[in-house]
Amino acid sequence: MAHDCVIVGAGPAGMAAALTLADHGVRPLVLDRAARPGGQIYRAASASPLPDRSVLGADYAAGAELITAYTASGADHRAEADVWHVGADGKILFSTDGGTCQAEAREILLCPGALERPMPIPGWTLPGVMTAGAAQVMLKSDAVVAEGAVFAGSGPLLYLIVAQYLRLGVKVAALVDTTPRDNYLRAAPLLAGALRVPSMLTKGLSLLHEIRQAGIPVFRWASDLQVLGQDRARGLRFVTPKGAQEIAADTVFLHHGVTPNPNMTRALGVQHDWNPDQLCWHVRRDPFGQSTLAHVSVAGDGGAIVGAEGAQCEGRLAALNMLCRLGRIDRATRDHLARADLTRLKRLAGVRRFIDRLYRPQAALRVPQCPDTLVCRCEERSLGDLRAGFDAGARDPNALKSLTRCGMGPCQGRQCGPIVSQLLADWRDEPVSEVGYYRLRSPQRLLSLQELSRFNRVHPAPEEAQ
């Protein structure tokens, strides 16, 4: 299969890019591991299992329109196509129907979206502890909820899922907000920039209002979180300015922001830069999303956190640039068509800066504080194990991985990667940018040996006549 363009990920970024490409006569191959297009925010928006999907909010409903347009665009969408390798040579390997297929592309657009930032508090790996995003995935895909759960952390997504639960009449034990008081002061100077997109702010405020109106216990300025329970979660302990608190609950949902999913872009070897505002690695890109490998572009939350609307702007921009590179439009046309999205992105960036500052996660919640708290869930390596490895001379994330096995498990370091880089930065007293990140490789996830053994090199089809 030889294609002008292959897009990985059919979230807002990938879908918007496909629409723009289709407008100019390029039919992309779009690969997504999910059963339906939509990505995180619009997961299952075209076929919601919920009797009334309006509880998920107006944004979610709007997603259905985007999906409809995308579906009609003629993009070659492959559902349940799990990409396990993207090569610098333009070859993409993906699993589908139990076998591996190879696609080849002149231009590649990666839109793998975000991951939730891990919150390695004591007990975070107990059964019954999940991320708020997982709560949302269960809700959106399977209409499953957890009664009487505690939600802890900070940031818009946390408040959104709480509000969604409350709209459904699901009992919520408490919202434990870890946003530090200082953040409000620090974010204040950025408020003016955020006000340039007032709708975003009102959306956020109305969520918080909705939660307060519902009358569930809300604890603010929480710190020192700890999941209670021995073999499974029994509740959450934390400290507020009013003293120590304990809340019993069988389910604890944690969330303090999202970061780009680094695995595909890392394995590909494009450049990344540490972003101290978002406390995560960004893919180095030009304004059109082109990475340090010219034929690979990245759009949406997989490159830097921009949100659903920003993801669509970036998707369209990347598409315009790829059209230009493919010779379908000239540079002047690209630049002309790009103007609106570039302007919009600039405005959205003002809001983003404000949100990033306001919901900047506490340092003490980003790395474990107790020696026996696990960092690597797959290989069960604790903070103490890592410190011992560091003391035995492993100062680099990869050396530490080789020595302690931290990050060697099936999640490919998705969970522990950011924690390890931060820990080493603290221990070495150097910036995270100096410490770097795991050297990652394909496959992106466990790959069956049987499937691999059946893989044969697929020779590219003859060029389609233009």
């Binding site: 390997l93 080789s402 069956s448 040996l449 053994s453």
Partner: protein
């Protein structure tokens, strides 16, 4: 900075050399451009194999296998070594013939560590092997270790004896002035009386700096490791004539090697994988061990390894410079030899001689005498 001995390269050869020298009282500086065990020595298959060695290597490899049995104690560290034994599988009569021919050679040389086994014994030792296999050969002293840990254990022991190990420190230039080696490195000027080149896949560049030419090449052998599986294989497994090798660790993960090569990008310190070849290795694995069809591959990688045309290393003094020694070109089986190579290099540096015959490993064995 000054030292008696300057070692280039923080792989297992460099670290073992540093250990043996420092233990003997020499002052040692070791330079590693990345971090210790970043390359072949930290990412290899961990095979500690005496079985099937080239005849020229057997004496060194035999000495090494003895050292491995006590290495944790010697180094007061954890190398992860497990003497599980090793079996090479014979798939047909031709393989068995090969084994018997080798047996004769080995016996003539007085070596008794390789034992030919029949099909029944093979099936008894490896119940999950494809029953079509006809026999094999085993060696009981062999096993596996954890490459990074083993290399780092040498490094830590060397440091305990006073060696200075500098990582993120690259040797840029080297020249001899009078009786001293002057080195320019990331950490500045270093002076030493003696230089040891353990620079792995980059060793030809170091050799060139001191006037020794060598037909070294490099390649990127690939490995893959599975998620945990129920224990089904104790010994390390290889094959007499097929590209196939695997071992199951105590935690249940299975490491699959076999020698398939990816793409080596030495200039960028990087390797790329060849998935079609890995697929071939997956096929062979499932063919030999049908139980592996259930395995899930967790990670795949490759490392940069130095190769000589005859697959034998270079070990010994430089030919065009004074007080310079080489140990490199291990051609994908140098991890096992690390402990003894360190000893040999230390002996050469300190006494100018060694108990082993190094003739097959001379750096100038490919020099053309005629055009």
């Amino acid at each position: 900075m000054n030292a008696d001995v300057l070692i280039i390269g923080g792989g297992i050869q460099g670290c073992a050399t540093a250990y043996h020298l420092a233990r003997a009282g020499a002052s040692v500086i070791l330079l590693e451009k990345d971090y210790i065990a970043r390359h072949a020595s930290g990412v290899n298959a961990g095979g500690v194999r005496l079985l099937g060695r080239d005849m020229a290597e057997v004496p060194l490899s035999r000495a090494a296998i003895q050292m491995w049995q006590e290495l944790d104690d010697t180094l007061q560290g954890d190398t992860g070594f497990r003497p599980t034994g090793l079996i090479n599988i014979a798939v047909d009569q031709a393989d068995l013939d090969k084994l018997h021919a080798r047996q004769n050679l080995m016996q003539a040389a007085g070596y008794t560590h390789e034992h030919i086994i029949d099909r029944d014994e093979l099936l008894a030792r490896l119940p999950h092997v494809n029953p079509a296999c006809v026999g094999g050969v085993r060696s009981d002293l062999d096993g596996h270790a954890i490459p990074y840990k083993a290399t780092n254990a040498f490094r830590l022991a060397a440091e305990r004896h006073g060696a200075r190990v500098l990582d993120s420190c690259e040797l840029h230039a080297l020249r001899r002035v009078g009786t001293r080696w002057l080195a320019d490195s990331t950490a500045g000027r270093i002076e030493a009386a003696t230089m040891v080149n353990c620079a792995g896949a980059w060793a030809d560049r170091i050799a060139l700096m001191i006037g020794d030419n060598v037909p070294l090449s490099h390649a990127a052998p690939m490995l893959m490791i599975t998620a945990r599986m129920p224990q089904f294989a104790g010994p390390v497994v290889g094959a007499v004539s097929r590209q196939f090798s695997f071992k199951q660790f105590e935690n249940g993960t299975v490491l699959i090697g076999g020698g398939a090569k990816g793409f080596a990008d030495r200039a960028n310190n990087a390797t790329r994988l060849d998935y079609a070849k890995l697929a071939e290795a997956a096929r062979t694995t499932v063919e030999f061990f049908p139980i592996m069809a259930r395995a899930a591959i967790n990670r795949m990688w490759a490392g940069l390894e130095a190769y000589m045309p005859d697959n034998l290393p270079v070990i010994g003094p430089a030919v065009n410079a004074e007080r310079a020694f080489h140990a490199f070109g291990f051609s994908a089986h140098g991890f096992q030899m690390g402990p003894v190579v360190g000893q040999v290099m230390a002996d050469l540096v300190l006494t100018g001689r060694t108990d082993f015959d190094l003739t097959p490993f001379r750096i100038d064995r490919y020099d053309r005498k005629v055009l």
